[in-house]
């Protein structure tokens, strides 16, 4: 048990200020426990978003001493006993109140992404996919949508290019679909022109903050950039594609998959 000072930003979209609270901290407590304690005793209306308190839902993202973190997975003993701990909402999204921000922009981005389109010969049947084929995809599917990567990404955070870049979270969603062994949809043109793969300058902060240790930069964003290079910036690859008819084959495959989905819809 030790008493310590926590500084929390209180306010809404019109402004606010940091407020200091004194709290008794018990063994094993995480920052979210401390916030709950303050909420129960000193500030009933202190707004904080949380759900599982076990690092699985990705709700309680905030910035603790300037670092984007999940507050449920940040233990108090990570800090020096007499260190002032400052807690504030994530920067990249508009404030609702106190530690809660409006993350609805992320949900809009997800809607823009074409979902899995099973190849015509796989649709409606059990997929046959080997573990080594899905390992890459599964890594991205560990994402708990805490949006810490979106928050820390300087393209969204400092440069505020939300209209031009979907952010790391959705780059890995796209990578997971593009690398899916039975997916037939082609998202590469959109990835370059609408989702902004070129906006990322691979400074890797998304990878640094990911609580699920997903290799966003090395395993998703760079491979996606390389696929864009294949399509748009590599003349040799272009010639090979033209000569082998790979472009036509890909388009035909997507068309067949679309047709198959339409057919399956009718039979339901």
């Amino acid at each position: 048990m030790a008493e310590r000072t926590i500084r929390i930003w209180r306010g809404d979209e019109n402004g606010g200020e940091f407020v200091d609270y004194q709290v008794e901290v018990d063994e094993g407590m995480v920052v979210l426990d401390v916030i709950h304690k303050i909420q129960a005793k000193d500030a009933n209306d202190l707004a904080v978003r949380w759900n599982c308190k076990a690092g699985k839902c990705g709700s309680c993202s905030m910035e603790i001493n300037g670092r984007p973190k999940l507050s449920c997975m940040t233990r108090m003993n990570e800090y020096e006993p007499d260190e002032l701990i400052t807690v504030q909402p994530v920067k990249t999204f508009p404030i609702i109140k106190d530690l809660v921000t409006d993350v609805s922009w992320n949900y809009e981005q997800n809607k823009r992404i074409k979902p899995l389109l099973p190849k015509a010969d796989a649709a409606g049947k059990d997929f046959i996919m080997m573990q080594e084929d899905v390992d890459r995809v599964q890594e991205f599917r560990k994402c708990i949508e805490c949006y810490l990567c979106q928050n820390v990404c300087h393209v969204l955070r400092d440069q505020d290019k939300k209209g031009e870049f979907v952010g790391p979270r959705f780059m890995i969603r796209l990578a997971g679909l593009e690398m899916h062994p039975v997916d037939a949809a082609d998202r590469i043109p959109q990835i370059r022109d609408e989702f902004g793969s070129g906006m990322c300058n691979i400074t890797r902060c998304c990878t640094d903050v990911c609580p699920e240790s997903i290799g966003l930069t090395d395993n998703a964003i760079i491979p996606i950039k390389e696929r864009v290079v294949d399509r748009y910036y590599d003349p040799v690859a272009w010639i090979i594609r033209k000569m082998s008819g790979a472009d036509e084959k890909r388009e035909a495959e997507e068309k067949a998959a679309d047709a198959k989905q339409a057919e399956l819809q009718k039979t339901v």
């Binding site: 407590m29 129960a40 308190k53 076990a54 809660v100 899995l116 899905v134 560990k142 679909l177």
Partner: protein, 609 residues
């Protein structure tokens, strides 16, 4: 906001309350059936408690062991539920789970694979064969994300961070729901011809629970207030393995997958005590030596399963007993050891989030040290009573699915059956709602006086000058339930609980919320007390009535299963003068299902169809 005509009104054909696995699946089905569908959820989309499910979803795909089929799954479910399950629901569940899992894969779920490239399945407590389709130990996340990513393209209207407070009725049938937006604290009326409750359980009435804050029994209380019946409320599942140290993480789930993958339970003397707790009914199918258990784990199909994989009620009681008799671990639990049985790399690969969770929260490396675990309230088997095929309650237009609905799991739920429950009954409730709406001859109308009453009740805590602190009342409730309505129960304790709950209800009348209505957790806490206390009271009163020990309900004053109690179920409903608790006869089981449930395994193997 004195006039209800100023309250925002949103109209849908159907609204689904709750966006976990069941709610999402129900909404997808409603939309597929051509309904204008609203999905209302208390949190952000994709954050519901389903994400915490770890081990997998049970479906007799037979990918790992071809002897598996729906009948064996059905038999396992009935035996796990001590034959109190609705026969028809258990049948529907076992029959349809495989197709629902396959459909998820088409929608983007990426399960772990077998050597042949099919969906891999793992062993779990109470399941005869490897049956749980899974993704490491984050299957719930995969389920909810797959449904979410598919669902957002189905034209569903998602209303996030919106809490439903009351169901609105036109006569005795559903007309909509009354809710508020967390962000602004403004009220909203949803007009709808049908409502599907997918609100989950009420675990937050207990202190030590694996449940998240949302589990406040909203669906139970709303359905109860609207006139629906609830069933099997006395059966609350305590998961045997929750974290117990440090105190702030007490209750967080440790997946059964740890035991499915070879983990064993030890007492402080290092003894595998589960061999001492094998119930007679399961003795023929359980290993009686460590050697046989190990052979089973290594894949020997003739060996029997180790006793750590007995049903959850059995394991939870065994740990409680060991602790009581002073053979527990230092912090009052048992040791769960996988470090000495499975290589480090395999643990990290198969149980990544468990590894992570212990490392980060308890500073324990599970590849080197044993975990300390103890029972934690995990699941409510009971719930809103529904028709097995349509999922409709006795309130016309009100449907329920998932944990919010009752009877599917009987007296005890098998691990892995909840995720499959969500997708099977989510789907069926969507079909049921569509059918109901088609049959409606007139559109239900909102009753303004009901809205007015709901509104004034909701704002009362904000308007009081002084009153009780909602957080402290919630803590008080948790203490009552943890002390008196725990794993083992007695008449005295249950009666004490009822008295204390009555006191608490009075205090709740004067609860006060500080601050304004905009994103005010204190106010939300105050508003959830009604649901929490109503649910707690239902559990306590039902537990007092059932004078036997069966499945997850253990009465020390009435030990053992009693035959007469297999023939009845406890029903809770709102009466003229408060809560009515009655015994109701169960219909006799259909013969063909009874034959399956009581058959030997040999008779059922390889007969899928």
């Amino acid at each position: 906001m004195s006039n209800i005509s100023e309250i925002q009104t949103i109209e849908h054909d159907v609204i689904v309350i709750g966006a976990g696995g069941a709610g999402l699946r129900a909404a997808i089905e409603c939309s597929k059936q051509g309904l204008n569908t609203g999905l209302v959820c208390k949190s952000l989309l994709g954050k519901a408690h389903t994400v915490m499910a770890e081990g997998g979803m049970a479906a007799a795909l037979g990918n790992v062991d071809p002897r598996d089929n729906w009948k064996v799954h059905f038999r396992d479910t009935m035996r796990g539920g001590k034959f109190l399950n609705s026969w028809r629901m258990a049948e529907l569940h076992a029959r349809h789970a495989p197709d629902r899992v396959r459909e998820l894969e088409q929608w983007g779920a990426v399960f772990d694979r077998t050597e042949e490239g099919k969906i891999r399945q793992r062993n779990f407590g109470g399941h005869r064969y490897p049956r749980l389709a899974h993704v490491g130990d984050r299957t719930g996340l995969e389920l909810i994300r797959s449904l979410q990513d598919y669902g957002i393209h189905q034209g569903i209207h998602v209303h996030m961070e919106c809490t439903v407070l009351n169901l609105l009725l036109d006569g005795d049938r559903i007309a909509g729901a009354f809710a508020y937006w967390r962000e602004k604290g403004r009220f909203v009326i949803f007009k709808a011809k049908a409502v599907i409750m997918a609100t989950g359980g009420a675990g937050k009435a207990w202190r030590i629970t694996s449940n998240s804050w949302e589990y406040t029994g909203d669906g139970y209380a709303m359905a109860y207030d609207a006139g629906a019946e609830l069933v099997h409320m006395e059966f609350t599942q305590f998961h045997p393995t929750g974290m117990i140290w440090p105190p702030s993480v007490r209750g967080i789930l440790v997946t059964e997958g740890v035991r499915g993958d070879g983990g064993v339970l030890l007492n402080k003397d290092g003894k595998r005590f589960m061999f001492d707790y094998i119930p007679e009914r399961f003795a023929p199918e359980t290993a009686d030596t460590e050697e046989e258990g190990n052979r089973w784990l290594a894949g020997d199909k003739d060996a029997r399963r180790p006793p750590e994989l007995l049903t959850r009620d059995v394991v939870a009681r065994a740990i409680t007993r060991e602790v009581k008799e002073d053979r527990g671990s230092p912090h009052g639990g048992a040791f769960l050891d996988i470090a000495s049985r499975v290589p480090e790399e395999a643990i990290k690969k198969q149980l990544p989030s468990m590894y992570h969770q212990f490392k980060e929260l308890a500073e324990v490396d599970i590849t080197k040290q044993p975990m300390e675990v103890g029972p934690t309230l995990h699941y409510c088997m009971g719930g809103i009573a529904v028709d097995a095929d349509s999922q409709q309650t006795r309130v016309p237009g009100l449907f329920a699915c998932g944990e919010a609905a009752g009877r599917m799991h009987g007296a005890n739920r098998l691990g892995g059956n909840s995720l499959s429950d969500l997708i099977v009954f989510g789907w069926l409730s969507g079909l049921g709602a569509a059918e109901y709406i088609k049959s409606l001859s007139s559109k239900p109308e909102i009753n303004p006086s009901q809205v007015e009453e709901a509104r004034s009740e909701a704002v009362a805590p904000l308007n009081r000058e002084s009153g009780e602190n909602p957080y402290l009342l919630h803590e008080e409730l948790q203490t009552i339930m943890n002390d008196n309505v725990n794993i083992v129960r007695t008449k005295e304790e249950l009666e004490t609980a009822i008295e204390q709950l009555e006191e608490l209800k009075k205090k709740m009348q004067t609860v006060k919320a500080d601050g304004a209505s905009q994103y005010n957790p204190g106010w939300h806490e105050a508003l959830s007390l009604h649901s929490l206390i109503t649910s707690a009271e239902m559990v306590t009163r039902a537990a007092l009535m059932r004078e036997e020990s069966r499945g997850a309900h253990t009465r020390i004053d009435f030990e053992g299963e009693r035959e007469e109690w297999e023939k009845v179920e406890v029903i809770v409903r709102k009466g003229e003068s408060g809560m009515e608790v009655i015994k109701q006869d169960r219909p006799a089981p259909p013969k063909e299902l009874a034959d399956i449930a009581y058959a030997t395994l040999e008779e059922l193997e390889g007969t899928n169809g």
